[in-house]
Point group: D2
Chain length 391, copies 4
């Protein structure tokens, strides 16, 4: 990338797990892809001056701010990348959009439908473009799944079964972290990982979830207080505190095309580290994906002769597959972080072309409404609860 390519000033708020992943993306995007704009990692914001300075050096940001408002108002920042817990998303995003900045906001979009709606309105009113970080959409195997559905290869969707299984708090001695605090995280497994599978189910099918019936559960109601909150996991102390979010969410749904869906999000599935599983059965075929084998998509073509039909294990590492040609030769698989680079590439491209990047805040709101319907159903004897369409 030559210096002749116009600059896009990036400012990031938050530098924990997601901040590290986003930084890697901004650094990598121009190394592997030909971009219309050159991302310039101008500033990172965090409240602790020493910590944010160390992070800036480590992650490659040129300057720091200890107040996100200062970052949002800087002239050399064109795009604000929000990597903080969910309770701060709305305020930061709306301020950034009001300042005319482009915004990339981590998921879930917000901790409530009301916040999400305000964010959508802010996005509509702004000259900035807004995108929500449902990063898994940009795993090449998921892109292929979407393509096959869009091409009609599996016909009408009959069944979606989506699971996001982790085990990092299956041990009752795993400490409290902000992710277990309703005030900060909004919800537990539901918002953190359930949001991903709702978005994936909708993205891959091109449909929306129209209603749900749900159960939420908190298995371990009291946990040791972590001594530090940095990173995903803290270190357990002697004190304990309440878990105020769900440990697991299970729900049934109906898709707008008439199919049935089952969803399950849990952090109590021992042995499943980051198993995002999506299986779709249509009238002409089926698809199956598991993030534990993220470079593979399984596809069953029911139009083939029965004697040789079978789920194809497609290794999604060919130049024909989305994003892959920019990386390595066939068979040299990608890892977790690459989808963040793809997200950066697509966002930079959309900004350069003045197009709405996807998923938009409106897409994030749709997910938020599904999550709200899940909570409402769970609070109401699992009664079927339609997903609202308008505020």
């Amino acid at each position: 990338m030559t210096e002749a390519v116009p600059r896009l000033g990036i400012g990031m708020v938050g530098y924990a797990f997601m901040g590290v992943a986003h930084s890697q993306a901004w650094r990598n995007a121009p190394r592997f892809f030909d971009l219309p704009l050159r991302p310039d990692m101008a500033a990172v914001a965090g409240r602790d001056e020493a910590a944010v300075s160390a992070a800036a050096t480590k992650l490659g940001w040129s300057s720091t701010e200890t107040d996100w408002k200062a970052l949002v108002s800087r002239d050399d920042i064109d795009l604000v990348d929000i990597c903080t817990p969910g309770d701060t998303h709305a305020e930061i995003a709306i301020a950034a959009l009001e300042a005319g900045k482009h915004v990339l906001c981590e998921k879930p979009l917000a901790n409530s439908v009301e916040e999400a709606e305000a964010m959508v309105r802010a996005a509509e009113a702004s000259s900035g473009l807004a995108m929500v970080g449902f990063t898994y959409r940009r795993v090449p195997a998921i892109q292929l799944a979407r393509q096959l559905v869009a091409d009609g290869r599996i016909g009408t969707v009959r069944h979606v079964r989506a699971q996001y299984l982790q085990d990092w708090i299956a041990d009752p001695q795993a400490p409290l972290s902000w992710r277990l605090d309703k005030q900060k995280a909004g919800s537990g497994a539901l918002g953190d990982i359930g949001a991903h599978i709702v978005d994936l189910a909708q993205f891959v099918t091109g449909e929306s979830v129209t209603g749900v019936s749900a159960v939420l559960e908190t298995f371990v109601k009291e946990r040791p207080v972590a001594s530090e909150h940095s990173g995903l996991h803290g270190t357990a102390g002697t004190e304990t505190g309440p878990v105020t979010v769900d440990d697991a969410a299970i729900f049934l749904g109906r898709m707008s095309g008439g199919g049935l869906a089952t969803f399950e999000a849990t952090r109590f599935a021992w042995g499943r580290k980051n198993a995002i599983r999506l299986e779709i059965n249509g009238s002409l075929g089926s698809l199956a994906f598991d993030f534990e084998d993220m470079n593979v998509l399984h596809y069953f073509d029911a139009t083939e002769s029965a004697a040789v039909a079978g789920f194809r294990r497609i290794v999604v590492t060919e130049p024909e597959h989305a994003y892959v040609a920019a990386w390595w030769p066939p068979g040299h698989g990608l890892g977790y972080e690459h989808a963040f680079t793809h997200q950066a590439v697509d966002l930079i491209t959309a900004v350069a072309e003045h197009r709405q990047p996807l998923p938009s805040f409106a897409d994030g709101l749709v997910v938020q409404r599904v999550l709200a319907a899940v909570e409402e159903s769970a609070a109401n004897d699992s009664t079927w609860t339609p997903v609202t369409k308008e505020s």
Copy 2:
């Protein structure tokens, strides 16, 4: 087996898919297992004299009856094996029990809770012993799963996810059969295959489903009428008729030990031929099973060091595994039909020892009540519906 072993006269009603499987079991049991009673395949009953005669010759039955009532009243019949559609189970089983016969009844136990309750009462009142044919319990890998749970190897059950996926009517041109007729089959995927996963979930965990939230769906509401009804599938004609049962059932549940459960039964999962999947996460470990790889159980032991912990793919073909020593050397896997032989062996043994064989009619009733709760919830906006405990 010498002639000195006492005889147990068997009479079978029905000789389609299940009748063929049961016949194989009665023939094989004494060839591989040392039995306390010698099963004598005395008579098979069916309404069509020519057809039942041909079946008797093919399957190895010594005589035939065209009226099941005649079969039930024969002195040389000690045990009545009911392999007919569900709408006839109650009448035949109750008559057989009243005649003092032992009974093996195919699942689901009945087409309604009321019928099932009457059957349980008949079993309690009879000198005969009664068993319901939830055959998959006797797959060695399922036996091992049950053992590991009972031994406390996975701790408290947190999650059950159970699926029974088939695709034999995913094609809208697949013809009507008695299995798609509510009058005969009682229900569709729910009673035919959903019943199996409810029983398996309860059997393996040693717990019961206490309540459900459910959705039932019929995707294809009209189908070609089959010209013949023999076997599982018929042949399509030009006429069409209504499908009066569910094509798919999805439901959430809670287990008596506090865990959450998701269930899915469908015949519309292209590419999944007979995928009975059971995955259980406990506080100390996890189990996973898929009937498409029926000789394997996956087991995760969370007490192992994190560096070497992993789902073990246990090939359940060692002499240490249930039933296996009677068959072949290690690694020589069993097939679908072997569980029926195991069922016959266990039933014969229980009869010889005057013990209640399991699963009992009461166990079948428990499943029936879960199915009834599913139907009630589905008819009532998916509202949470407790599973009744008493009539």
Copy 3:
């Protein structure tokens, strides 16, 4: 099967592991298949009168002989089924053929090329038909593999990789059995399981192995003497004795069509119970099979678009697949023993039609010559050794 179907009198010699499997086949064949001849299990021969009588009762044979020569000379025996160790194959088979009987002889055909040649000559001279028991050919997934190659679906064969991995003597305390005695077994892993993969490689490709380079090894040279020799495994005593056969055989080969092959047969692969693996790469596609998942064949079609090409996991349980329609509905997998029934069906059919059953003794001789070339190469610094074509 009505009595009107002509009778085929079967006499079996030996009743250990293979005898049990063959008996099951003779019993099952007429129950599931429509046969042109009715197999009558007339007599089983064994040296120990009490043991053979018990076996006859258990396995379903009508009478016994303590001298195989008596069995061979009986008028009511049309077909002699040889299930004894390899050192007796030639004598029994030749005698049976000279008596005009049909013969089914377990593999390997003989313990030497000379014996095998004599057997082939006897088969050619006899009115009886002779078949060797390379049973795995009749696993439906292997039949499908053969069909796909024959149909040109994978093009010219480039690579064969064939492995037969077991672990039953990986423990140095596993006792001596006749299978570890060169006098009885002829060779070790090579003849017992290596023979199978040589035959499978040749059968599926339709080609022959033209030369080899080999290494044989005996890892554990002394073992406890088993107190009993019945069955596959004995029970260890305190005495020890020498292992006189190979524990493992590895060899390279060239196929007659120009492809390369690697073979490995071992009983020291901990965790692999009966892993017969066959992988074939051709100019247009690939196939992969593992007997640990015996109802599945993997097929890669290189003519498909790169974006959606992938190994298809074909669950070989559809009516379109060889033998399957006679058994159960789709998805209800077969087990180890079913291939023996298929073998019986095909042999009975060939006899009825006066056709040469396959694999013939000549096919068995071809395998024997490959094994001999392996032994010669291993004894000669692994030097390339052509497989002889004529005696």
Copy 4:
């Protein structure tokens, strides 16, 4: 990483596939790991000035050279990273070592044993440290495999089966590239990918290959000439030229601990994109790895009770696993490129600590001698050929 960390000047020669991967490693290492030296990407060398300039900008190098000799003599270069074809390795590496530079040389070390020996002598004589790029050693699952063997968890090694299967020239129309030219590449599949599995087999077992019996084959002897040679694949033109290297190499080996080994390297295995498979059976257990599922190691512990023993699918993404803690939370898998970063980290650390980095040039020479023995055996009727120990 603060500026206080001492600088390590890196100069890279070549910027095609391997150069891109190495550049990513130099960039990433300080972002995720705490390093004792700060890698400074000072210069990249290539003959074409425009191309090398573009590469420098894209990949992040501060300056360029069009003559590698100029690069080697620069004072600001402490470490020379050689990413050119094999025919140039010896000259560049020796010059760099003579100039007192540290050297990282891509594998295979050289195109002949003689060259490799000269390189080893140069390394011994130099103040610089030398390392060869057998990068796959640094995949976390391979590190775990090595650790388990070193800890005695699988006991004495009985069997190694190692395969490297690709399909990128299975199509006869795939064009010639420098990798198919003996002059540049030294050998074909043998040196390019066979070298990797020889090194992995030796690394994981901690043993060496003592002798081999081999077959080499070129299936497609003439191919279209590529119009451009950049990257792994070129674009086919109308002209054709001879393939002067092997398409496939298969060989048997013996390990220094008494075990047997089979090796297979091919670019003709349709459907296998980059399948590096390593399976090891020991007296106490087994290991299995496939790079197509690179974040997983399979481990069978034969000391476990037979009822629950099974290959464990260890997802190697826990903080306890080598290198993983520096990246992402559990379950967030790495990709192909990460092993290059690990290589950079280990090399930088060794340089800072004045320790010999591994694998050393001597380790590379050991592999070279195995490859030479393979070629000698293949040229000599596959006769067993010891691997030489000294020049």
